[in-house]
């Protein structure tokens, strides 16, 4: 009897180990954030909320948080707009040079991120845009564009072209058709993609580490700089807040498109 169940037991065991591998660091991080000691370690010494209180007085972290929000918002808007339009066009219209264009739009994935960052550093330097948060947002949008396109193209490919024709035959002009038929049909995919884009831009490290300066420091770079020395539980506290935000995002996404829809969207 055990032989019949062996494959299932092995599978469950393997998945349990992988789940532990995925989740353990976050759990330990959360435990460390409540430590009353001053160094991250295991086991955590005592229980205290002092590091969360400490965070409230950190003006640098607060400024970095605001900067990151700005950058992530600009990046989300830019990549969602550009990505939605591109995905819809590529899914519905027959156009010349379609394959080269699709390949061109995949370039941000192929060029290494550090190289892209160096290139952007040059362009922004020439244009005098270093120190502009919106420019960093645009840079992040450009780098993450393939994900923005991919998330919508899944929904766009499921769009029934007959709906558009039906609306046209009822007398709707192109712009009206786009606003009342096409966009609402792909909206769940667009929203889920925008959510994922926001979180990805919020966590963007490589591009920001090349492009930020003291005025526009983002949270990921600030954490990196602070963590290079001794790691205090304050960083663990920030990590826990990050995790809570992620959980909130997952909950939101679940309400919008359902977790399985999100999974289908995420892989594009």
């Amino acid at each position: 009897m055990i032989d019949r169940h062996l494959p299932r037991l092995l599978l469950l065991g393997a998945v349990a180990l992988v789940t532990l591998y995925l989740v353990l660091p976050s759990v330990l991080m959360a435990a460390s954030s409540f430590s009353s000691g001053s160094l991250i370690g295991f086991p955590p010494e005592g229980f205290s909320l002092r590091w969360y209180v400490h965070l409230l007085g950190q003006r640098r972290l607060g400024a970095a948080f605001v900067n990151t929000l700005c950058v992530a918002s600009v990046a989300t808007v830019a990549s969602t707009v550009a990505g939605t339009l591109a995905a819809l066009v590529l899914a519905r219209h027959r156009m010349p040079f379609r394959a080269p264009l699709e390949l061109y739009l995949l370039l941000p994935l192929i060029i290494p991120v550090a190289v892209e960052a160096v290139g952007l550093l040059n362009i922004f330097g020439l244009a005098g845009l270093l120190g502009a948060r919106w420019a960093i947002g645009v840079a992040v949008a450009a780098v993450n564009l393939p994900f923005g396109i991919g998330t919508v193209s899944a929904a766009a490919s499921r769009l029934d072209p007959a709906l558009d024709d039906a609306a046209a035959s009822c007398g709707a002009a192109p712009v009206e058709r786009f606003c009342t038929v096409t966009l609402p049909a792909v909206m769940p995919g667009v929203l889920a993609g925008a959510l994922l884009m926001f979180i990805t831009s919020f966590n963007e490290f490589v591009i920001c580490s090349f492009l930020v300066d003291v005025r526009t420091m983002t949270l990921a770079v600030e954490l990196y700089n602070e963590g290079r020395g001794a790691q205090s539980p304050a960083i663990a506290a920030v990590a826990v807040l990050y995790t809570l935000v992620s959980l909130a995002v997952i909950y939101l996404a679940d309400r919008l498109v359902g977790l399985e829809g999100l999974m289908r969207t995420a892989r594009g």
Partner: protein, 325 residues
């Protein structure tokens, strides 16, 4: 074709007054404006116009790459950090002459291969269970476990690994409790591999799920009903059918691992720098835009070559011939 106006026929007054809704009025204005901006005869150009934002964003990156490539052909004056005016191959000769660039590049290459392999190995059973389980609750829990680390970001996750693997971390505390010697699992290549694999596991699983979903359960049942042991079914039926997804996953995870910067920097402790860390150190910290630019160009070419080779291998391999792109 614009909607045609109804002909003027004498009709009896309508029994019910039909109000013209305000949003119809609004759309009439919008349609008229759109008609004026982009007349119908320019309609074939509309797809290109809609693609323009995306194309502009990508062009930002390609122009940046070209600028860097141009810089790589000038050498840097060590006193002023300005570029000399003449074109020279000097930077590339420096790249080939100093062995450490090859060392960093090779390390990143091989590490990325190891990480991609591990991700596929660990991700496949997870994705398989996620797809095949009949319990919706378990599926939701499994998806949650993927997404939460995914959304936390590389910096925080790297620090979390230090909590687990560091000298005062969980693993060493357990070893000390058992009376064993402590193990150095962070601030070296091992830590980087562990951290990178965990970072890229969610993406691997997300890529493998559609591939496994496409395998019909009946095929495996048919093989089992013909008397095949479950291991044999997995090896001869499931894995070959999932091969395109595995190939895709390998390419994507390899690319992401090769170009990662945060985890090698934090978990490597300076002893396991990847080529991206070297680019940052050369171009930004040392200010050598010449050699840094040459490094960028070389890294891009290597990435292009390897992605191209992997892609071709998939297309020309047995799975590629059967299933196409």
């Amino acid at each position: 074709m614009p909607p045609s106006r109804p002909a003027e026929i004498a009709l009896p007054p309508p029994a019910v007054r039909f109000p013209y809704a305000p949003h119809w009025r609004a759309f009439d204005l919008v349609n008229a404006a759109a008609e004026r901006l982009l007349p119908a005869r320019l309609a074939p150009a509309v797809p290109l116009v809609l693609l323009l934002p995306a194309l502009l964003l990508v062009t930002l990156l390609t122009v940046g790459l070209l600028l860097v490539a141009e810089q790589s052909f000038h050498s840097v004056d060590p006193a002023t950090f300005l570029l000399h005016r003449d074109y020279t191959w000097r930077n590339y000769r420096v790249l080939l002459a100093r062995p450490q660039y090859l060392e960093f590049g090779g390390r990143a290459l091989l590490a990325a291969v190891v990480v991609a392999g591990l991700c596929l190995l660990l991700g496949f059973p997870y994705a398989f269970l996620l797809v095949r389980t009949r319990s919706a609750a378990l599926r939701k829990a499994l998806i949650c476990c993927i997404f939460v680390p995914f959304l936390i970001g590389p910096v925080v996750r790297a620090f979390a690994w230090i909590v687990v693997l560091g000298r005062t971390g969980l693993v060493n505390a357990a070893l000390r409790a058992l009376g064993l010697a402590p193990v150095e699992l962070v601030y070296n290549l091992t830590g980087v591999l562990i951290g990178l694999t965990q970072l890229l596991l969610p993406i691997t699983i997300l890529i493998l799920v559609p591939a496994i979903t496409a395998i019909r359960r009946e095929v495996e049942d048919a093989a089992a009903s013909l008397g095949a042991h479950w291991l044999r079914v997995a090896w001869t039926v499931t894995l070959p059918l999932a091969a395109p997804g595995l190939g895709n996953g390998f390419v994507i995870v390899w690319t992401l691992a090769f170009s990662d910067m945060a985890i090698p920097a934090i978990l490597g402790g300076g002893r396991a720098d990847f080529i991206t860390n070297i680019i940052q150190r050369t171009y930004v910290e040392a200010g050598d835009r010449g050699v840094g630019g040459a490094l960028c160009v070389a890294t891009t070419l290597v990435t292009l070559a390897i992605i191209g080779a992997l892609f071709l291998a998939r297309r020309l391999g047995p799975a590629g011939r059967r299933s196409g792109p």
